[in-house]
Subunit: 366 residues, 2 copies
DNA sequence: TCGAGCACCCGAAACGTTTCGGAGATGTTC
DNA sequence: GAACATCTCCGAAACGTTTCGGGTGCTCGA
């Protein structure tokens, strides 16, 4: 019965048998491709890797056989034979201890990095120092096991042990932000005059007494911004009074506290430049509590252009970095360093001033 | 002279030369460890891998020799020999096309995932579909090259092609959010009554006419939340009027537009539940433009507790998910699925209601 | 004394790739 | 017609592991 069914049943059975005999769930190997193409394994390998001493037509034959069989080279075998070959992935370790404060920038930056890396055929290996291990252990592991070709290092600090380690072992890397002017690796950093647009804006509005709230010194980014702040003022023949300058944290509480101190000084400034938006939020609140209206009595500028900034009342004038741009630069610089280990260029990114409602001319003296 | 010695001397000299020529800065190999320990390569391997048929003392000798030499096994060789061994890394592909809107949650979630993964000895492989490739190509690649043991899939949609592919090839995975009640993989999702606390809160305040603004249907999370919304109302014997419900986007513009439509309806609700904070921001603006004061005339609740929410005026009442918790669950579920391929459990997370200033009793009818 | 059973050990073969050295053609030069 | 490039191609040896099958000795009971 069911004479139509029988043959198909047999067929499937045969297929199963054949598969079972050979290697049912096994990928085709180079040898299979060679056989399919009627070539030697050697020539097949050379053909697929586009070497010089193989005839054009042979190459074609090999390639065709390869995709007829759906061949993908076995990465492990290749890496075993060519230990110096690229891993095609770049590492990034998230220092969750110093990164405790959730960086509103981080998601966008990672997205941009991954995007650019993928576009260049690289992947991103994310890891975090686990448990009681040293921070550099995460790096050590990754390179001992040859899992990555190089690293992107974020939030570099003064005399950063991670950088010391990587440089010492001559592992390619790129940093975002930078401490030292002499760095044997490429760097993506803010322009030296990164705060200039903001200060220019304030000065144009008529401000001449400008304070600032900085993030903790020791982070590359902080020292740099502080220098930039003073330099931008100097360009206008201005100077910040010591009592108008302070900081020591990342969060709005610190901004609040420092702003309070500044407001309480003898001759408070008419504008405050906060080194990030959270600090600016704190300053905003402090101004409110001091009965100062923003922007009529006091202008405030932030940095980062966190999403919150545009929903505030008053909406915060801020300097925006393009995470996309930075991510792309980071990856490209690192890839460059892979090809040319001595590469140590600098790419500078300039934030864009986003003018909103928190800046205005200073109150008329009466 | 010393005709017996000559050859040996020559030999050793040759050996040394060969070594020196070969690769001075090369990692120690298993053979080196074996020699150092005075064992065969076989036994050394078995000793280091803690197999059964090797004497206790031998194990010790091998281990000691290994760390005396600073030996790390060559991953490539091991994987070549044991193709089914774990890769110790989990994959996550960022669909940058659907993730265009920068998710404020993403950074925190990734951090949590990486943290938990690292704590368990796993890394996170991030990639993105490159160029014109299909979205699933990124997955295909990663598994063809055996780079990951499993995947975390975010933002699942109705009939998600990625899920189809992964399930079909029986690759372990875990999703955040879920469409189907029957899923052959573990899932981390919101509780069915995720909106209940918010609705309870509104009802307790006295609201009985509540609208909502949803994110595009087709995303697992959206359908789920919509059901939860209706269910939570029903629990109080309430029902949402069709004209009080709408949505089709993620951003504040959509929130603004939909809220406007709702306000223009015959009998507008006294409260609106927005499916994310951005939508709520838009609704807030719309209320303002309609001359409705929030919360006096109209209560608004968001979801996500984006940082902006607490800086708004009025500060937004919102439902907060713990990215840390979700990330940890995702990783743990996936690791479970690696050990037990048929695992298909559900972990539900419940958002916490953060009550701020945007909710209050409805206006007294007069 | 023998064989069996046990606890431990080792040589050698594999995994899938690249590459080194050589080798058959074919053309080119004296 | 010998010598020598040039263009193709191939066999076989690696790379560093794991594991299979086969050893040693040794003890124990018969």
């Amino acid at each position: 019965m069911t004479p139509t069914e029988k043959p198909t049943e047999n067929q499937t059975q045969n297929q199963r048998l054949k598969k079972a005999e050979k290697k049912p769930p096994s990928r085709p190997t180079l040898r299979d491709v060679a056989r399919e193409a009627g070539l030697s394994v050697t020539q097949t390998s050379r053909a697929l890797n586009d070497h010089s001493d193989v005839a054009k037509q042979t190459k074609r034959r090999a390639v065709e056989a390869a995709d007829r069989l759906g061949y993908t080279p076995n990465l492990a075998a290749r890496r075993l034979k060519m230990p110096d070959a690229r891993t095609q992935s770049i590492g990034l370790v998230l220092d969750t201890s110093s990164q405790r404060f959730s960086d509103p920038f981080l998601g966008d930056l990672l997205t941009a990095i991954v995007e650019e890396a993928s576009a260049n055929g690289f992947e991103l290996q994310l890891s975090a120092p686990s448990g009681g291990d040293d921070v550099v252990d995460a790096y050590k592991q990754a390179i001992k096991q040859k899992r990555v070709d190089g690293f992107i290092v974020l939030r570099v600090t003064n005399d950063d042990p991670r950088l010391r380690f990587l440089v010492e072992h001559s592992i390619p890397l790129v940093t975002f932000g930078c401490i030292d002017d002499a760095h044997p690796y490429p760097v993506v950093r803010e322009t030296d005059d990164c705060f200039q647009p903001a200060i220019d804006h304030l000065v144009e509005l008529g401000h001449s007494s400008i304070g600032c709230i900085y993030v903790p010194l020791g982070y590359g980014i902080s020292d740099h911004r502080l220098r930039s702040f003073h330099r931008a003022l100097a360009a206008h023949g201005l100077e910040a009074k010591p009592e108008h300058v302070g900081g020591a944290g990342f969060h709005e509480e610190v901004g609040y506290e420092v702003a309070n101190r500044i407001f309480a000084s003898e001759e408070p400034p008419t504008a405050i430049m906060a080194f990030n938006d959270l600090l600016a939020f704190g300053a905003l609140q402090a101004a409110k509590d001091h009965g100062r209206s923003v922007p009529d009595d006091m202008s405030i500028v932030g940095v980062d252009d966190v999403m919150a900034s545009r929903f505030l009342k008053p909406a915060l004038t801020s300097m925006r970095y393009s995470a996309t741009e930075i991510g792309h630069h980071l990856v490209r610089q690192l890839l460059g360093a892979l090809d040319e280990p001595t590469a140590n260029g600098e790419v500078t990114v300039r934030p864009a001033l986003v003018i909103r409602e928190s800046t205005a001319p200073p109150p008329k003296p009466h």
